[in-house]
Amino acid sequence: METVLHTDKLTKTFGRLCAVNRLDLEVNRGQVFGMLGPNGSGKTTTLGMLMGVINPTAGNFTWFGKPATHHTRKKIGAVLEHPIFYPYLSGQKNLELNALIKGADPAHIAKVLDLVELRQRKDDKYKTYSLGMKQRLAIASALVGDPVILILDEPTNGLDPMGIAEIREIIKRIAADGKTIILASHLLDEVQKVCTHFAILRKGSLVHTGPVEEVGKGEEVVEVMAYHDDLSHCLHEFRGALSVKSENGKFLVRLREGFHSVDLNKFLFEKGIVATHIVTQKKSLEKQFLEILQEAASHRQPT
């Protein structure tokens, strides 16, 4: 697969603070790459370095296998932190300016305005836009010039649930076009829903990177409900049960490796219990994220 972005020990220090610490990342073409991390973990600083607005302290990076110049940036559509536009210009004029800088065809503007559903308001001044419209215009501006890569930094920050859903739809639509997307976010749910790969940053260091599919592999947790007075006891008798917990009237059974919900169901049936509810819980990225962060923290403690 073609490598789009490669960073090699990328480092940025602000005085005594180390914002990004020897970061090695690799993003391949067609991936939707999520950068996860709590606030202040160095996501935006990393993207700032990749986009030429922050000078790295050490290390280097390549786009498309070559050191970056401003010509490379024209092929990348990026919005960092929050939407940035000239408030006194209309949405249309702002996008025309973007197209001028990128050397893009101005005819493309109408298309991206349609994609983010801003055509109606295109001639209004940017400062009159709502936050959701600003975010959508930012995505439109990143799409002007038909970039090969899209970088979005917290694109749903501060939006209401409907706005979040809209932006997510747009991202999925763009990803379906085969564009490479780098998405920085602290919203795990968001990353899990739209990303194919992800990396976790903590205090500027990379603590994990891999495909999203792999999340949820490993031991299974099964939710069980049944009309039985001593369900807990029965469940404990099951050979494959690692532990049994009661939560909101359901029992959560953690299974040993090699055991699945089918085995549990069979076991219950043999005991003469019919489950009214039996569901395999998908391990969420959130859980994995917290686990990884905890692990990283405990590794650090002794030093």
């Binding site: 000078n55 401003h70 000239y86 004029k93 001028l100």
Partner: protein
């Protein structure tokens, strides 16, 4: 090059403040330079009240070739208005963080600065064209006997004026890039002459020649005060090469300092 100029003009032409400030600049510049005779009449009237007789027809304010230096000298006072516009234009880029977005979008830092310098050049050229036009019109109106050779005399004041405006706008651009806050930058810009004067006063007599090397002084030295000639005093009615060299040096340095700051800082 035109591409970069186009980018910066696109930012400015949609900005109402730009039109208002530039409009005020060109209108006041035009009216002030064109109303010298009215001023002389008013002066004569005041003089008459005190029993002084002033024959305004003996002051060839608008006669070729006097008109060139007279108008260029007066116009020099207005450049501060344009400079404030330049400060607003560049500090806006930092307060709105659009400079950052421009670079993310694919402008190099050098191109960003160059687009601003080009606009400065354009504004300077427009000022020159404006003053030349008013000089030409008023000259034709007030000069009793027009000789072509007189019209073409002393035109060297226009390149000098161009350099004067451009150097000062470069200075404003540099202040904006370094300070990045519009209010503070404008105050610094307005106080520049005064701050420089304070420093110059404290220079010992023996090092007096240094005074011509100070930036504000160097810019003022390009066009000397012409009006003393109407009080039968000797004036400098030419552009001194040394002044041009020093002012050129400053114009280069101002833009170079902006360049250093822009290329090295995190934006």
């Amino acid at each position: 090059m035109f591409h970069l100029l186009k980018i910066d003009l696109k930012k400015l032409t949609g900005y109402r403040t730009f039109w208002v400030v530039c409009g005020l600049y060109f209108v006041t510049l035009a009216f002030t330079t064109a109303s010298g005779m009215e001023f002389l009449k008013w002066l004569a009237g005041k003089g008459a009240e005190f029993g002084q007789d002033l024959n305004i027809n003996r002051i060839p304010l608008y006669h070729f070739p006097d008109v060139w230096q007279n108008l260029v000298y007066i116009s020099g006072f207005f450049k501060v208005v344009l400079a404030i516009m330049v400060v607003i234009s560049v500090t806006n880029e930092f307060t709105y963080r659009t400079a950052r977005q421009n670079i993310i979008d694919g402008l190099s830092r050098r191109q960003f600065l160059f687009s601003k310098i080009l606009t400065n050049g354009l504004l300077s050229l427009m000022s020159v064209a404006m003053v030349f036009f008013i000089g030409l019109v008023t000259g034709f109106i007030y000069t009793p006997e027009i000789a072509v050779s007189d019209i073409f005399t002393d035109l060297e004041f226009f390149p000098a004026y161009l350099l004067e405006v451009f150097a000062f706008l470069s200075y404003a651009l540099m202040l904006g890039v370094l300070v990045q806050r519009s209010g503070l930058t404008i105050i610094l810009l307005l106080l520049s002459h005064m701050i420089e004067a304070i420093v110059k006063v404290n220079i010992p007599e023996s090092a007096g020649f240094l005074k011509d090397f100070f930036p504000m002084q160097a810019i003022s030295n390009l066009v000397a005060l012409p009006f003393a000639r109407y009080a039968f005093q000797e004036i400098q009615d030419f552009v001194a090469i040394s002044a041009v060299v020093i002012a050129l040096g400053w114009a280069f340095l101002f833009n170079y300092f902006s360049y250093l700051k822009l290329t090295r800082a995190d934006i």
